[in-house]
Symmetry: C2
Subunit: 411 residues, 2 copies
């Protein structure tokens, strides 16, 4: 008899029929003898409706009140879901964030969970009741409602699974798992059966579509086995788990790309101490997150620096850099919006040195110029011209034979 | 500087524009130096939408979950309202039933308020903040959400006014006050400026359209002056207050009618002790509320009994009475659905004996037969044939000169 936390997103509970289908699915697991906790999002479309209403009241809606508004969405789904379960003959109880209770800090609209009291849920589970928890929401020490931000229901589910020491946490979504790359670009993309927490974190741009990245960090910290799967089929999805021996044979787990970045290059800056600080302090103070930074030293104590920022922050970042450029005596400032970051991710890289080389060779063979390179223990990222994105992704997917679930180990 | 509780119903907060208008109205009062507490209902239409969703899940929705569902409606309006106030430059905070907190018993969907903690509201008022409270909802000792049933937001407003010792409680609605009779029947109906709690309670059938009757009882108990007025105009409405000397001059405050009753007559019952008990015990046990009961003793120790029940309970009541009829040896049982109860209400009646006589004379003059009569200290009710309803109401309104706000005292 396992304790299972199951999370269903907004598209899975978009209308009464879908809610009933999901309820039946949960009840089947309960009938098999499992103790079931269900975490639900708001019905698809509700959050947009609320945001639309809120912005009619206030251009930038008050964050505390936004949370009061948004959290009402999950309140609706958990109540309807509990009714459906009761209608089908089992017992269920809905619990809101403050009823559980899920304590958070008071950063409204993107609060962080501080503590979960699992007592009430356990009591209900002991009585054989299916516990239906409103995802995405918590409560501050002062009793104010908070929400956890984008993907918050995933976080609720994993955090509950950790607090309850659940045997597994299943995240039901509208795709059937994590793929080796974007199937829209590469028809040979393959669903990954098992992947480590670290790989999943690095595959953020793939993972974001199926599993909120914060919840992966939480799952890693508390060793919660997470199963990402489709709410519309019975097929197994992708298990996100701790690294084990069987994973060594996988060198590369996936190829990912990110088109939401831009590069800024500052050329021929005198290479003196404090230059980087002068450049990046005002950017950081403006709340702009810099991803990659590359510095090449030229002859004559001059240096070139290139870094990436989110495309949405590009204009602001360029303004700041142009202001600083004179102060640090840079010769020129250039930027580009037409770039993509392509990455290969895999825990097997740690023990095999040829991976980056293969990557460079593949891109060279396709005539794709590499603008920037950055590496981590289990990832190699290259910035390339945006127009080559699909070509690069397909070539890398083929080169590492990701369509096979047992890749050959290179010589 | 007064402490004012203002309640706005669903039609007053039906969309963002209306919410903003109401917010401005409240802020105007706040700018005059008043401490403002606002109680809001769900946006018009939301409750129906929720009921529709719920009945798709369960034919008779689970009451606990129904309350979770319904209470989300007020949560939306209070958040939007607080945003509107902030957008217009004042401070506001929304509070839900469990945040205030409004403690109730655990009779879901029609809970009764047991206690209100006014501390948090007072703190916010002391800071000059407009406090926006979700109407209609409370919380049990176990932390479950409850709702107060039909008209519950009026009850929330009056209960808050009592707990806060507010100077006044204003109930904003879509009509501009309480009228001497139904303006749809009698074009000379006049808006009443001041009326006592007791009269308002007796005028239930008029009052129900503008003010929930439970809230009037609460207002009476805690001596809360209630002002019922239109949310669409600035015109003064009707004050519901304690009786004072100036009211003596008003003999009759209003004429009301109720078409939702039916009569049942049991003829020629032997007049022995216990007959009434045998008849009314099973009716009461079936949850049927009997309003008027009339008993006439005939010659020969036989008696006739007539009583009224709600029309919706008529069939059930007839079945019960027919079963009992044999036991109590009644000769016949008859019933009628085609009746109306017409009443005149006024505290001035206490000191003037001619009122009932005038009523009887007026009806006689119009050729209207009186089927039953019942009196209380401040009310006289007659059951008449339904077809005479409008005629009777207009004739009585004219006879007592209710279109004048200073009626002549009869000789």
């Amino acid at each position: 008899m396992a304790l299972i936390v199951q999370k269903f997103g907004g598209t899975s509970v978009a209308d009464p029929d879908k809610i009933r289908n999901v309820a039946r699915r949960v009840m089947k697991k309960a009938a098999e003898g499992n103790r079931m906790v269900v975490v639900l999002s708001a019905m698809a479309g509700e959050t947009n409706r609320f945001v639309d209403l809120a912005t009619q009241m206030q251009a930038i809606p008050d964050p505390r009140e936004m949370d009061v508004l948004l959290s009402s969405g999950e309140q609706v789904t958990v109540a309807l879901f509990a009714m459906a379960v009761k209608d089908e003959g089992m017992n269920a109880v809905s619990l809101l964030g403050d009823q559980v209770k899920i304590s958070t800090d008071n950063t409204h609209t993107k609060a962080r969970i501080k503590e979960i009291n699992a007592d009430l849920i356990k009591q209900h589970l002991d009585n054989g009741t299916i516990v239906v928890v409103a995802g995405f929401q918590g409560v501050t020490a002062d009793g104010d409602i908070t929400t956890l931000g984008r993907g918050g229901s995933d976080t609720t589910a994993v955090a509950l699974a950790a607090a309850l020491k659940a045997d597994q946490c299943e995240i039901f979504t509208d795709v059937d798992g994590v793929y080796t790359t974007d199937p829209n670009i590469c028809s040979r993309a393959r669903k990954i059966d098992r992947i480590t927490y670290d790989e999943m974190l690095e595959l953020a741009s793939l993972g974001a579509k199926v599993l909120d990245i914060r919840s992966v960090g939480l799952a890693k910290r508390f060793k919660v086995p997470v199963h990402v799967r489709s709410s519309f089929t019975e097929t197994e999805g992708t298990w996100v788990v701790e690294e084990d021996d069987t994973m060594e044979s996988m060198l590369v787990s996936g190829v990912t790309y990110n088109k939401n970045e831009a590069t800024i290059t500052i050329s021929r800056v005198p290479d003196t101490p404090g230059t980087a600080a002068k450049l990046f302090t005002p950017i950081s103070e403006a709340g702009i997150v810099v991803d990659m930074i590359i510095q090449n030293t030229r002859a004559g104590d001059l240096t070139d620096m290139t870094f990436t920022v989110p495309r949405s922050d590009y204009e602001r970042a360029m303004r700041i850099v142009n202001e600083v450029a004179g102060e640090i005596k840079a010769e020129s400032v250039n930027g580009s919006l037409g770039i993509t970051k392509v990455s290969i991710v895999g825990v097997g890289m740690r023990n095999h040195s040829g991976i980056a080389t293969t990557l460079f060779n593949v891109l060279a063979r396709e005539g794709i110029n590499i603008l920037m390179i950055s590496t981590s223990e289990i990832k190699v990222s290259c910035v390339i011209e945006e127009k080559y994105t699909e070509l690069a992704v397909r070539a890398l997917h083929d080169a590492f034979e990701l369509e096979r679930d047992n890749q050959p180990v290179p010589e």
